[in-house]
Symmetry: C2
Subunit: 613 residues, 2 copies
């Protein structure tokens, strides 16, 4: 199983750790120390070796930070983790604070005084984050001090070793473009920006650029590493050599120099001594890298990671792979839905059992297809009844709820296959849904369809399109408190920049981008609804009488949407036509791979809407 | 008549002026001089005394700039004025350039060299503009030199005197809030921003704050002036005293000190010597004011003009006034539409004759109502056939086109009454419209209705809502190249910040804001369509089952929309219901003030759609 359902445990008493840390801080003449939940690579997931926050505080959530002062310490978490943090920590050691309302740099205001020295590990903070703290410290007359070594590492006796998962080559037949061609493309960006080199600190940008994949962290098939792209000469990949088999090393040989990670600081210092201008993304570049360059008199040119936009614009081969992965995933999800339909409300089942079953179907379907399930693309969100209304719900043994009749089940999940990354949410009725559930579901569906069918001129941003997914809910006095869509990689991160469909989506959508289309509705303590397919930005079929060059979306996720939850009286004829055509496509695509009850279920659940109402 | 339809004339030879200017520049050791189309107040309209660009170059458009160098000079205009600029200027004197593609600061690149001194009048450039030129000059090693006197003024022998239109008091019964209450409110903003004073440079902000109106420029009833708001003590109004009658002066006496404009520089210098922090909006504050403060060691705190947002949120009294003005204007427009319906296509008519007729109806209706037409709110756009497709078309004697049968007539116009400002566009069929015209009109109407009926949560911006007005057009492969809506004042500017409904509308809409709702469609060389009503942001009627606090719009413009152009097969039942309900409201509101043919027309043209199709 790729997912761990262990309940967050109360750690062994950890005050000793805090005492030891404070002693080290005092020895080093530091007023305090900042502990982010981050590793050196700033990805969504971090390896066990980087779980310093959990080791020190007991809090095991996926986001947060701590600040340790001499007589006071606080852990900052967002609304998802308020309860968990209180349960996992000893409040005598750490006061719980809101990461949103009172983040560390705000909390420090009034606590730091002139002459204070707040320490931090410059490997773990980005350039942008460092700046925020530097100005908070400066305002108090204090200093924000980069430390050569992380004081936690010195006292964390049984710290796990950093991961050494083997790197694999993403074959050109799936990548659709050779790594050398990609590097040449990126070089033109370096030339445009008139920089000698670019620091690539995002692991998924490195994976895309060099056509490699890894398994250092859960769910995101990247190899933790850095790269330095040079305008002249081969790029350098800074990575622990033990991750590279001879075959992989040979494949990379003509492409890049390979060095240990620690060599990057020296290489940047060398560039600095030449007075070089080096491109770095302040949102993903660790402060230590920028400091190494600038301390040697180089110049950081701030700008987006140059691989981010090329990576987001998938080529035709990648899109074909992703479509195959989505068909395969659709087969697995449909088998799961047939099983669920057969068992939910009849057999005693819990959320974890359901999530495990879905994972098993995915593994089985991948194996049949010769394209095994390599990971989930994120921890499955499986919420029955009131749990479905918790947007970021991650079930564990402590919260695991039994499925009950006459409620809704929300399941948001995804797979990592070698040819593509999937992400799908279905909301399923158990027993008989109420009129309210059907009305809400249909309003969410209207938003989903409005986005799926949207045509829009070049240059349109996700923020502009987000409105279409909300309009029907807004008209009913409803809304949902998350974005409508995020970018998705191809056998890479399920949350990928730079485009998104949300109020803050300022990046124009471009052909080839894969995004999610996932409007929702959540009734606290009652039920949750979300309908999620992935969509690809693509020129639409020619429009009769159309005058402008437009873009649109192709939906690539293939699985039935629960027709029992649709109130057809709320749909226009065009919306019904979209729904029925989508189901016809789903049936045609998946039927050849299904048989028995699953096939029967597929056929029944993809009948035209008119047939049921 | 408030509108002048004179054709832009070819000016008398003006080379002598250019020669004289260059001689003065040489005497002053200047490489060149920048001539913006602006006065000291940065409003949309400028008085004749500030038409330096026209005097020097012959170009009389409403936007543009010139740069004069020793051996070269250029005039920069946008696409609206390309032809006019070529016709009005002597290309031996001035080369025409694009204000958009190659604006002055870009054009100067490569022309300025080290040691050059480009002069400018710091009264005519804002802080933000000055900065743009300063960095362009600095990049070339040149200096951007603020001049004590404008060299054009020294050689412009017959320069008109600055306007001295009498100031009037906007009575509290129409303003809905006393000036002293407004000043108190603004003072709290000064306290929040921790500034000693704020420069108010926008004339409409001064008009709103002090409840005064003027007539110094066309269409915008403001008195050109500055104000300095102080956190402690009374504000100062810097204005030529000849604009103030004894009665107005008495009314202002308890409210503000009144000084000549030239005293402002000294007062800012005095604040500077005290080390004061002074709020100034870089988009509207002339550079000279900021310089006076900072040269005396004061600090400019950059931020929005504090009156802009309070002014945009109209109070209940202002909204009532605006509704009355819109009803009155609707009566005038309906009389006009009835006359047009009777005469267009039968009597020989031209665009100017039609625009004059509409103005006459407005004057007549205002006089009847005891609320006379005080001005148009902008020059009427009256375009028949292909002229309707020119978005910013201003008819003049040279372009005046005769109305023809079987085409569309687009008329965009507005009035200034003491109780409100109107802005309405109607597109009218002359003879029989084509199927294409009806389809396009109906798509524009769908966008108009989607926006008029939108509900949206607090915090929603105009950029988010803009999509609703375009969605139906986008789905048909069509779009329009202007924003969907702008803010509108109450007996103030018809183009008012800070909110707008467009891709760049980043300001959240708030209750009381008046905006236009004006989607369009333009077929070059053929016809133009725009449907414009004004709308007020307002909480919607309670929504059954709604859970969120929402906002919506009330449409306040009242005049028939041409039913003959509606293809009802393209409308949903809800859209038809909106259209019919709107027409029922129009009929009910306007019928009591109409009689004879105009009343017959109103009744016929507001019949439910079902009755015609």
């Amino acid at each position: 199983m790729f997912q761990n359902f262990d309940a967050p445990s109360r750690a062994e008493p950890i005050s000793g750790r805090l005492v030891a840390l404070r002693a080290r801080l005092a020895d080093a003449g530091l007023t305090g120390f900042l502990v982010p939940h981050a590793d050196e690579y700033q990805g969504e997931y971090i390896p066990a070796s980087a779980e310093r926050l959990a080791w020190l505080t007991g809090f095991t959530g996926s986001a947060g930070a701590a600040v340790v002062l001499a007589n006071e310490a606080a852990v900052f978490v967002d609304g998802r983790y308020t309860l968990q943090a209180r349960n996992q920590m000893d409040s005598a050691d750490f006061s719980p604070e809101s990461l949103i309302d009172n983040p560390p740099h705000a909390w420090l205001k009034g606590r730091l005084k002139k002459g204070d020295r707040l320490g931090y590990d410059p490997r773990l903070l980005t350039l942008a984050e460092t700046r925020r703290f530097e100005s908070a410290c400066a305002a108090a007359g204090a200093a924000f001090v980069a430390l050569d070594e992380n004081p936690i590492d010195a006292i964390w006796a049984d710290r796990p070793a950093p991961p050494l998962a083997q790197v694999s080559i993403q074959p050109d037949e799936l990548a659709g473009e050779t790594a050398s061609a990609k590097i040449e493309r990126l070089r033109t960006i370096l030339a445009e920006k008139d920089v000698a080199a670019a620091i690539i600190a995002q692991s998924d940008s490195i994976a895309w650029t060099f056509n490699i994949r890894g398994a250092d962290v859960p769910h995101n098939p990247v190899a933790l590493s850095y790269a330095l792209l040079r305008r002249e000469g081969p790029p350098t990949l800074y990575m622990d050599g033990r991750k590279l088999s001879n075959a992989v090393r040979d494949a990379l040989a003509g492409l890049a120099d390979i060095k240990e990670e620690r060599a990057l600081l020296g290489d940047l210092a060398a560039l600095g001594r030449e007075g070089a201008r080096v491109l770095a993304d302040p949102q993903s570049t660790p402060a230590i890298l920028a400091q190494a360059l600038t301390e040697a008199n180089g110049t950081i040119v701030e700008g987006s990671d140059p691989a981010v936009l090329p990576k987001a614009r998938k080529n035709a081969i990648e899109l074909d792979g992703s479509r195959r992965a989505h068909r395969r995933d659709g087969v697995a999800v449909t088998r799961f839905l047939a099983w669920f339909n057969q068992n939910a409300g009849r057999t005693p089942l819990t959320e974890i059992a359901v999530a495990r079953k879905l994972e098993a179907f995915r593994a089985e379907t991948g194996a049949e297809d010769g394209m095994p399930l390599l990971d989930l693309s994120f921890d499955t969100i499986a919420g029955t009844g009131p749990d479905g209304a918790i947007v970021h719900y991650r079930v564990n043994e402590a919260t695991d709820r039994a499925l009950e009749n006459d409620t809704l089940f929300l399941i948001d999940s995804g797979a990592q296959f070698r040819d593509g990354t999937t992400d799908i949410t279905r909301t399923i009725a158990i027993g008989t849904p109420t009129d309210e559930m059907r009305q809400r579901f249909t309003l969410v569906l209207k938003g989903h369809i409005a986005l799926a069918t949207a045509r829009f001129p070049k240059g349109t941003t996700g923020a502009q399109l987000d409105t279409l997914a909300r309009h029907a809910l807004w008209q009913a006095g409803l809304d949902f408190d998350h974005g409508t869509g995020h970018g998705v990689g191809v056998f890479l991160s399920v949350h990928e920049g730079p485009a998104r469909i949300s109020k803050s989506g300022t990046v124009p959508l471009e052909p080839g981008m894969i995004l999610s289309n996932e409007p929702g509705y959540y009734k606290t303590d009652s039920f949750g609804i979300r309908i999620e397919n992935l969509i690809v930005v693509t020129p639409p079929a020619p429009i009769e009488g159309g005058e402008r060059e437009m873009l649109g979306f192709e939906t690539i996720t293939l699985a039935p949407i629960d027709r029992r939850l649709v109130d057809t009286t709320l749909l226009s004829r065009a919306e019904i036509a979209w729904f029925d055509a989508y189901h016809a496509r789903v049936r045609e695509a998946l039927a050849p791979s299904l048989s028995g009850e699953a096939l029967d279920f597929l056929v029944a659940s993809t009948q035209p809407l008119a047939a049921v109402t």
